[in-house]
């Protein structure tokens, strides 16, 4: 709206001024935060901080955790865009890079721990930054893969004619990226960012406080706070920590994600404007602010100057499109293959030290965890499918239930775990049951939200046809509902399955009240090996888990996906 009425103009200006002030204060606070972070990082290394359980310490810990989480997120964003871009534009390496992504995605966070930590500490032996970077990289390994995959697939699914328009008008690589490739990736990246940051919270405890061989690591942060409280069995502190976490998560959602989602609306490919406008008050405030407008314009004109310079340069040297010389390609290939070969050789050397019976136990553990994961999926489906369909079919119910479910889903299950585990132990249960419950807490939401989306997407004509022809309840489910939600259900199950495997490492092995609770399973084996510094066992169990996840993806989920695409698509 460009029309402004005179009477509201003054109020508008005053409001704009206060928003400018707020933004200014925020920038200043951010600057101060960076400064103190820098000071802390460059201080002498203290791998094992003493964690205070007092409430006053919480804001500081929260700040450190958020800084770590978003540092890792920022790294993930850059990596995801670069990796996705290369994979989508270089056909020679595309298949290898995507297969690699598939495998990396299946490796649990803890398996990266020893390598990452040891490398970072070796890099900065005397400074805190080494330990911090290690922790950030750990969080990064849990966040980055789905984002990279999302950016890659957005780039691959750019409508052909849009890409051709860019080519016929001789866009430079930079202009393509700014005006075509990045905008088409925004929405996918944003949704995956939300999932990734939530995943960061889920593994925060594991990434901030862990033993490695004979050394203990404990970084100041909410994750350490919660773990310390759990070890002490201090329920009050646990609840305080969870409350702090929820406040931050809700605030992030309101201040960051919601405005971003509203803003990302303009990157939709739809050719027709939808009537549902995802407006957002914070976005509107920002759009009204002069300061934000000025910053935006400066960034925009800088971007444009760069674009024009690249364009002029390219117009000047109308040379053939530079193909990376064969030579470099070959050299790079040889280096990569050499390195990979060497690591495989070392890994085999390491695995050859593992005794035969340990191989057998590992496979046995894998089987148990497989049962646990699939049990979790079954239990989750049993309640989320009917509940999701009910919510999706009744708009009134959806209005109440959806926000509630969203809040419930946003609480990282790992944070709740100490309380859940304490309760179950008091009731006489063990970690065997509790681990399933934890996996359930962590993964059922993926199924629920997808089922709701699926139920909402069933055209009302189909439902009406069911009523007109007096379908029985069973027939309705068999002919309309299950086929209708099938593609969504598969998506939810795939995500949940991956999440459950990953969660098994924290669910099957837990420090509580000064003792270690563990149950039989591959996850427990990985955690234990990491704790004990048994790198050979860690490698073996990681390879087994990764192989199982990749196999299940290939043999179960991908065929189901194809079936869903081919047979149960409603929009085709």
């Amino acid at each position: 709206m460009t029309i402004k009425f005179a009477q509201s103009f003054d109020a508008e200006r005053r409001r704009s001024l206060s928003i400018d002030l707020a933004i200014f204060v925020l920038i200043f606070a951010g600057f101060y935060g960076m400064l103190s972070l820098g000071r802390y990082w460059s201080s002498a290394a203290v791998p094992e901080t003493n964690i205070s359980l007092s409430v006053q310490a919480l804001p500081g810990y929260a700040f450190f955790s958020v800084a770590r989480l978003f540092g890792a997120y920022f790294l993930s964003l850059v990596f995801a865009v670069v990796y996705g871009y290369i994979a989508a534009t270089q056909p020679r390496v595309e298949r290898v890079m995507i297969a690699l992504l598939d495998i990396l995605q299946s490796i649990p966070v803890l398996s990266f721990l020893p390598g990452v930590m040891l490398a970072m500490i070796a890099l900065f032996p005397a400074r805190q930054i080494g330990v911090e970077l290690g922790s950030i990289l750990l969080i990064f390994t849990g966040q980055v893969w789905n984002m990279a995959f999302s950016f890659y697939s957005s780039m691959k699914s750019i409508p052909r004619e849009l890409g051709e328009a860019g080519r016929i008008y001789h866009f430079s690589g930079w202009q393509r990226f700014i005006q075509l490739e990045m905008p088409s990736g925004v929405i996918g990246l944003l949704w995956n960012s939300m999932v990734s940051v939530a995943g960061g919270w889920f593994f925060l405890m594991a990434c901030e406080m862990f033993p490695l061989g004979n050394r203990q690591f404990r970084l100041p942060g909410l994750g350490s706070y919660l773990q310390t409280a759990a070890s002490a069995g201090d329920v009050r502190s646990i609840i305080q920590g969870i409350a702090a976490m929820i406040v931050i998560i809700v605030a992030t959602d309101q201040i960051l994600w919601r405005p971003l989602i509203a803003w990302s609306d303009k990157f939709k490919f739809e050719q027709v404007e939808s009537n549902a406008h995802a407006g957002n008050p914070i976005l509107r405030l920002l759009q009204r602010s002069k300061l934000a407008g000025w910053i935006g314009r400066m960034a925009g004109s800088g971007m444009e100057r760069l674009m024009l310079r690249v364009a002029k340069k390219q117009a000047g040297q109308k040379a053939a499109p530079r193909e990376p010389s064969r030579w470099v390609g070959w050299a790079g290939g040889i280096v990569v293959i050499g390195l990979a070969g060497y690591s495989v050789y070392r890994a085999i050397g390491m695995l050859s030290g593992v005794a035969g019976h340990e191989w057998l136990t590992t496979l046995g553990h894998a089987g148990i965890t497989l049962l646990r994961v699939n049990g979790t999926l079954l239990i989750a489906s049993a309640w989320t499918i009917p509940a999701g369909v009910a919510i999706g079919f009744q708009p009134k119910l959806a209005r109440i239930a959806q926000p509630l479910a969203q809040i419930a889903a946003s609480v990282p299950a790992t944070a709740l775990f100490p309380i859940v585990l304490l309760g179950i132990i008091r009731l006489g249960g063990g970690l065997g049951i509790a681990s399933i419950l934890l996996m359930l807490l962590g993964t059922q939401w993926y199924i629920l939200f997808n089922v709701i989306a699926g139920a909402l997407a069933i055209p009302s004509e189909l439902k009406e046809a069911g009523s007109v022809y007096r379908f029985t309840r069973a027939l309705r489910w068999r002919v309309i509902i299950l086929p209708g939600i099938f593609p969504y259900l598969v998506t939810g199950l795939v995500t949940a399955s991956g999440g459950a495997w990953n969660a098994s490492i924290v669910a099957e092995y837990f420090h509580l009240k000064g003792q270690v609770f563990m149950t039989t399973g591959l996850g427990a084996q990985i955690s234990q090996a990491s704790d004990a510094g048994r790198f050979d066992i860690l490698l073996l169990s990681t390879v087994v888990m990764s192989a199982m996840v990749v196999c299940i993806n290939r043999l179960v989920w991908r065929p189901l996906y194809r079936l869903a695409e081919y047979r149960y698509r409603l929009d085709a």
């Binding site: 849009l162 051709e164 005006q179 303009k266 027709v272 364009a311 117009a315």
Partner: protein, 436 residues
């Protein structure tokens, strides 16, 4: 016109995919094709005949498996200054209308002020001024395609390619946009030298194109390639138009038959008729002197009676014959019934008879009238008629033809000519308007 150097010339280009172990899959068999300045070329063909593949090879978006493409006579892989109007519009949804139109200029490093000016002009041409700040999704399909046109025109392409540009639009919008394209093209307002349009709509091709290429499939190949000898604007119901449509339809529905010749219903050259340079008053004067129908008059005798040289009289006779007022046979002149009625009518009725006869028999007059009626503002620059007269007459003769047409048009009150603006314009024949 045919002798001009082609802008794009494909020599023996083909497209195939190697399939392992087996024969290769031939998508397009080797073919030659040239796009010359001043033409609208339409590429027609059933689905699967490789229309889009051919367009993409000509534009350099995809490379032919064999053969070469000459651009302005030089073999080049990448395209030069071309533009495509896409079926799906292919606008960037996150850029405003203006930003979309400016994007190709940004790619050339044009600075901001000039970009704004050029995009404003392009949007002006397609009638979208005032929509600069809108996003594509806020526009209707027809308006989106106008943005697509503006984005294509802003680069002033050598050849403007269109890939089924109207098929995503509803029938009325498509018709409207098509008319505007032909109008802009004949007004020389499109900053491009040639248009190449891919379509599956036969009528669309015959409406727009100067030349139609029909592709066949398995593998894609040129079945027939011919000129459309119809003047713009074209009348869908005219017999020659229907003749072309039927011919193409036959070619497409008989994929295995030889395309054969264009049917005789389609005249090879429509305008070969030459207007004798005669004032309408002279025709009326001659007819009033002729004996009644059925009584022959000898041309020499007549000339003698009128005190005229024979070559002064002949054009007048020719003109009257052209209008159907008399017939000439072996040196004898015979007035027709219509001529008799004309000769005996008062001046107002003479104009009516003359008007009807002129529209019916005089191709140039009819063409000018149709062109004026088709235009929304009922104005057409004389250049437009120069263009097709040039094909048949010398420059001087073209001028004389138009001068005579203006005299006849004014007399019959069909149209008038504004010498200052060099434009024809429609007059209201029913009003008693003053005429020269």
């Amino acid at each position: 016109m045919q002798q001009q150097e082609p802008l794009i010339e494909a020599v023996g280009i083909e497209k195939f995919y190697e399939s392992p172990g087996e024969n290769r899959i031939q998508v397009i068999a080797p073919l030659d094709l040239a796009i010359r300045p001043g033409q609208i070329v339409a590429l027609l063909g059933p689905s699967g005949s490789g229309k889009s593949t051919l367009l993409r090879m000509l534009t350099g978006l995809s490379q032919p498996s064999a053969g070469k493409i000459l651009r302005n006579g030089i073999e080049k892989k990448e395209a030069g200054n071309l533009a495509i109007v896409f079926q799906s519009f292919a606008l960037f949804p996150w850029l405003t209308v203006q930003e979309n139109v400016e994007a190709p200029l940004e790619a050339r490093g044009v600075d901001k002020a000039e970009r704004a000016e050029r995009s404003r002009r392009a949007l002006d041409v397609v009638g979208l001024d005032g929509f600069e700040g809108a996003y594509p999704k806020e526009l209707s399909g027809g308006m989106k395609q106008r943005v697509g046109f503006a984005r294509a025109l802003v680069v002033e392409p050598e050849v403007l390619f269109m890939d089924e540009p109207f098929s995503a639009l509803d029938v009325l919008t498509a018709e409207n946009l098509r008319n505007q394209v032909t109008e802009l093209w004949s007004d020389k307002k499109l900053p491009t030298q040639a248009i190449f349009i891919v379509t599956h709509n036969i009528e669309e091709a015959v409406l727009l194109a100067d030349r139609i290429i029909v592709l066949g499939r398995n593998p894609g190949r040129i079945r027939t390639d011919f000129q459309v000898e119809l003047a713009q604007p074209r009348d869908r119901k005219s017999p020659p138009f229907v003749g072309y449509v039927d011919f193409i339809y036959r070619v497409l529905t008989q994929p295995d038959a030889e395309p054969g010749k264009l049917p005789s219903a389609v005249p090879k050259r429509e305008v070969h008729q030459m207007l004798p340079h005669v004032r309408p008053g002279g025709i009326a004067g001659l007819l009033e002197l002729l004996p009644d129908p059925g009584q022959h008059a000898d041309l020499y005798q007549l000339a003698d009676d009128l005190g005229l040289e024979l070559d002064e009289l002949l054009p007048v006779v020719e003109a009257a014959a052209l209008l159907g007022f008399l017939t000439v046979k072996e040196g004898d002149v015979d007035m027709t019934a219509l001529g008799h009625r004309f000769a005996n009518a008062d001046i107002l009725h003479q104009k009516v008879f003359f008007r009807e006869a002129a529209v019916q028999h005089v191709i140039l007059i009819d063409r000018i009238r149709r062109a004026l009626e088709a235009k929304s503002d009922h104005r057409v620059p004389d250049e437009f008629f120069h263009d097709f007269l040039d094909e048949h007459f010398s420059e001087d003769e073209t001028k004389r033809q138009l001068e005579t047409a203006i005299l006849w048009g004014r007399y019959s009150e069909l149209f008038d000519y504004d010498a200052a603006q060099k434009r024809f314009f429609l007059t209201e024949p029913d009003s008693p308007a003053a005429h020269a």
